[in-house]
């Protein structure tokens, strides 16, 4: 992968700092002259990581302001209505509320770096502990769902795209469109309820509640991935249509190669970018879906915590969840962007 664009020698890690210096004149690759002194990967990664840091700062600041801007006194809120004025005063200084806003904001960051996200109002437990204890179960079904979504959605969409392009196999087209259309619209909690009815009540095959053994994962993962799989398959099919109509595929056909080669070598690489972009959006949506799935199947993950934090107005907990989920989504976006960059040479050079 490295050095495919520029013909400059491999860069040392400090190449970015050096890039401000005089440009090497590179007679071999005139079009790549500007990038010649820096490996495109290094500069791309730098730009992308700077963007990530900015996003995290904005996210944390927003989460901080979210609780700060609330009406009411956090000290009173955290102690409940029966607290005396003295208790509240002690609490205020404990929470650092008697210092300036900037000091508090700085303090907030300092705590973050120590893994201190404050204490839950309702349970008095450290938010950090609550999240680290609950998160693994949520991540399990989410990661499994991502795997299912990608492994089913992409091949299904491509196969359907190839089979139904230009009005071929119209009954297949109609069937695919209606079934996936229906399942894409069906909300996660409806899919969950119906899957309980079908696989647990009518024919008791899978357990419906709790996390115990491999079979207990089936229904939660099914409910969480079904809509997204169908949505992805639809998008991939539409993209396949677009690519198959492209001029360069006609060029490929003019070379008279086997259909499989045409598809895997000429069509597939051009599907990767739009597919990954859309899949990235779907993964963000899984976070919402997991809350429903965990509620329905009594899954011991973040779902009940999320719902409880809102019903109990547990601000530190909401703040912690927003930050952790926010960072998670930013990381997913980063991974998707890096994957796209690895596959699509254009994105490294033209896009930020």
């Amino acid at each position: 992968m490295k050095n495919m664009i520029s013909s400059a020698p491999p860069d040392s890690p400090d190449a970015v700092a050096v890039s401000e210096g005089p440009l090497q004149v590179d007679v071999v690759a005139p079009p790549a002259k500007k990038a010649a002194s820096t490996n495109p990967w290094v500069s791309y990664l730098t730009r992308r990581l700077i963007r990530l840091v900015i996003s995290v700062v904005v996210l944390v600041t927003a989460a901080y302001l979210m609780v700060r801007l609330l009406p009411g006194d956090p000290a009173r809120l955290s102690l409940g209505p029966e607290a005396t004025d003295e208790q509240i005063a002690v609490r205020r200084s404990e929470l650092g509320l008697d210092t300036s806003v900037f000091t508090q904001y700085f303090h907030f960051w300092e705590n973050l770096f120590h893994g201190d996200l404050g204490k839950s109002y309702s349970t008095r437990l450290p938010v950090f502990d609550v999240i680290t204890q609950r998160m693994p179960a949520t991540l399990e079904i989410s990661v499994l769902s991502i795997i299912v979504i990608l492994l089913v959605g992409i091949p299904l969409g491509m196969a359907m795209g190839e089979a139904t392009r230009g009005g071929r196999n119209r009954w297949l087209d109609a069937m695919f469109s209606s079934v996936t259309g229906l399942l894409t619209v069906a909300p996660v909690f409806v899919v969950a309820a119906i899957s309980i009815y079908m696989f647990a009540i009518t024919s008791p095959v899978f357990p419906v509640a709790g996390r115990s053994g491999p079979s207990s994962y089936v229904l939660p993962v099914l409910a969480l991935s079904l809509s997204s799989t169908c949505a992805l398959a639809r998008i991939v099919r539409a993209e396949t249509f677009n690519v198959l109509e492209a001029d360069y595929v006609r060029t490929g056909r003019a070379k008279r190669m086997q259909k499989s080669r045409l598809f895997f070598r000429h069509v597939l690489p051009n599907l990767v970018t739009p597919t990954l972009t859309f899949a990235g959006l779907l993964f963000g949506g899984l976070i919402a879906g997991s809350v429903f799935v965990e509620t329905v199947f009594a899954w011991p993950g973040m779902g009940p915590v999320v719902v409880g934090s809102i019903t109990n107005r547990d601000y530190p907990l909401v703040q912690g969840i927003v930050m952790v989920y926010g960072v998670l989504i930013l990381l997913i976006n980063l991974v998707v962007d890096l994957l796209i960059a690895a596959v699509d040479p254009r994105s490294r050079i033209t896009k930020l």
């Binding site: 079009p31 009005g167 009815y197 060029t251 490929g252 963000g284 809350v291 719902v307």
Partner: protein, 597 residues
């Protein structure tokens, strides 16, 4: 082509809506929406009292004639409760949509009227928010609004804002760049006036369609929040609350959970289909309907006598009575009708004609590249001794090596005809690798040679680059190099220089000329540039409305001995140094009119 300019836009819109309502999707969407809205308006008045009245004698009963789907834990009819809940579900979903779309449009239009730096800031914030899933925003906002319907509606509404705003931004940005907006700016029209008079009207269609889609997801999302207990609070109820109440008793009476579940899904589908239908009617998404196609028109039984000659083996290409048809708007159109011609070995034949005259389709049909649903019919398409007329796709495949090595194609648009994801070298080398029996390294060496042959400097390095690193002229030369991997007996060049500027055009023509001479290839050169064609080809075929109207040598054509009125008109409309420049430029249509009168 039929013209629709005589029909007023409003009438056309109504017609388009009526047409869409007749399709299955459209019909279901419209009927479903009417039912849904009807339920929301009338159901609470009709059954509201009955649906809320607690009846201790009927607690949690199964289906019965009085209560078709049974009763819930307070003895209330499940079906009636579900029907009555249509109002709350629909209402809160619509409210959220209304809030979200209005705010989204405002935020989305801000960048086009605010000072640029604020505009960029707004764009950046919106782009960041789009990446966050709605639930996270809802979570965030629920803190401000608290749990309950008001909070949920505002939160859902605000969650829509980034999506709509971004849509609006991209749409307005593209409209702002257009000429009529620039013109208005030059005329000194205030920015807000430009916004309301020019920008908003041109984006409404897209906004309406997306708002309908947003309504569908708001409705299900609102039900979701109620389901989790952070939306509507008891004693009020919507489908989400009914579902969560029913879920607890799923084992006793599944209907209690399934009925509201189905209701919310159906409502979501109906609204999605409505958005789809409106989109199709407004032309936001393209529609291809091929269901009611009229029968394929049969070819004329009698070919012209002088064209009926059997294909000659000394010709590299013989085409007899070629028809190409496509389904369009419910019927078959035949853009190529009864074309017959020969190309001798090493001969250069130009095909000229206006766009839509069938030149490119003729070339594609000759190359066996017309795809389903297009139809090719001919008495003969004989290339290098093999007649491809009437062959199935599979039979053509058996001649893949022949076609791949002996016939080479140079396509119109160099920008889009090379695969953007593959390096140029392997793309050029592929034919030799596929059919020439070359192993990969040989093929790539050969490709480097060919790239050098078409005048690409530094071919080794260039071969490792991607098409986006090539200029237009270089890409077109790479296309020609690609065609030279075999020993082409026929080069089909379909407007190879149209997309290039005049100097690059000359280089490409020189390359094509040298290549044809060196390899002794015949050339089928398609262009609408008569000067270019007569300079390059020995013979010219003039196409008009899908037929060849003139077959004439270049010399005769230049000398003015064309017979067909279209050719005469075509020649006469080319401006020369002696053309009277005080008169408007003559067009083909002017001459055709003159000829008829």
């Amino acid at each position: 082509m039929t013209t629709l300019t005589t029909v007023a836009p409003a009438t056309r819109r109504i017609r388009s809506f009526v047409h869409q309502m007749r399709t299955p999707t459209g019909a279901i969407a419209v009927i479903g929406t009417v039912l849904l809205v009807g339920l929301a308006i009338f159901a609470p008045a009709l059954w509201g009292a009955e649906a809320t009245e607690v009846n201790v004698d009927l607690i949690a009963q199964g289906p019965s004639p009085e209560h078709l789907l049974g009763t819930d834990s307070a003895g209330r009819d499940i079906l009636l409760r579900t029907l009555v809940a249509a109002r709350t579900s629909l209402m809160y979903g619509m409210l959220a949509t209304l809030i979200g779309v209005s705010l989204g449009v405002i935020v989305g239009c801000l960048p086009s009227i605010l000072p640029p730096w604020i505009g960029r800031l707004v764009t950046a914030v919106v782009n960041m928010l789009v990446a966050f899933p709605a639930l996270l925003l809802v979570l965030f906002l629920a803190v401000f609004f608290g749990q309950g319907a008001t909070g949920a509606v505002f939160a859902l509404g605000l969650a829509i804002v980034p999506d709509i705003a971004r849509l609006c931004q991209t749409m307005t940005a593209s409209v702002v760049g257009r000429d009529f907006v620039s013109a208005a700016k030059v005329l000194g029209v205030p920015r807000t006036a430009i916004l309301f008079r020019h920008i908003i009207p041109s984006v409404t269609d897209v906004i309406v369609v997306n708002a309908t889609m947003a309504a569908a997801s708001s409705l299900t999302a609102m039900a979701g929040l109620s389901f989790l207990g952070i939306g509507l609070q008891a004693p009020a109820y919507d489908w989400g609350r009914l579902l969560s109440e029913g879920l607890a008793r799923m084992y006793v009476s599944p209907a209690a959970a399934l009925t509201p579940a189905i209701a919310v899904t159906l409502a979501g589908i109906v609204l999605t289909m409505l958005g789809d239908t409106i989109g199709r009617a407004l032309g936001v998404t393209p529609v291809i309907s091929m269901r009611k196609l009229a029968g394929l028109p049969s070819r004329s039984a009698k070919p012209e006598p002088d064209r009926a000659v059997a294909p000659q083996p000394e010709n590299v290409l013989s085409v007899r009575d070629l028809h190409v048809s496509f389904p369009a708007l419910g019927k078959w159109v035949t853009p190529v009708r009864g074309v017959s011609f020969d190309i001798a070995r090493g001969e250069r034949v130009g095909i000229v004609g206006e766009s839509g005259s069938g030149k490119s389709l003729t070339a594609l049909a000759v190359a066996q590249l017309i795809e389903y649903p297009g139809r090719v019919e001919a008495d003969a398409i004989a290339f290098d001794g093999v007649d491809y007329a009437g062959m199935s796709e599979r039979e053509v495949t058996t001649h893949a090596a022949d076609l791949g090595l002996k016939m080479s194609m140079v396509f119109q648009d160099p920008m889009s005809s090379l695969n953007p994801s593959l390096r140029v070298g392997p793309q050029v080398a592929e034919t030799a690798f596929l059919h020439g029996g070359a192993i990969r390294t040989q093929a790539s060496d050969q490709a480097t040679d060919r790239l050098a042959e078409v005048g690409i400097q530094n071919p080794k390095m260039r071969a490792r680059q991607y098409p986006f690193q090539f200029s237009g002229g270089m890409r077109q030369r790479a296309m020609i190099a690609m065609g030279l991997m075999g020993t082409p007996k026929l080069i089909i060049a379909d407007e190879p220089t149209t997309a290039l500027d005049a100097t690059v055009q000359r280089t490409v023509m020189q390359v094509l000329d040298r290549v044809a001479v060196e390899h002794g290839s015949a050339v089928m050169f398609i262009s609408h540039d008569i000067a270019l064609v007569t300079g390059f080809c020995e013979r010219v075929l003039v196409m008009y409305h899908g037929e060849i109207v003139e077959d004439i040598s270049s010399a005769d054509l230049v000398a003015g001995s064309a017979v067909h009125p279209y050719t005469k008109a075509l020649m006469a409309s080319i401006p020369t140094l002696t053309t009277d420049r005080s008169r408007p430029m003559a067009t083909v249509a002017d001459f055709m009119k003159e000829d008829k009168s």
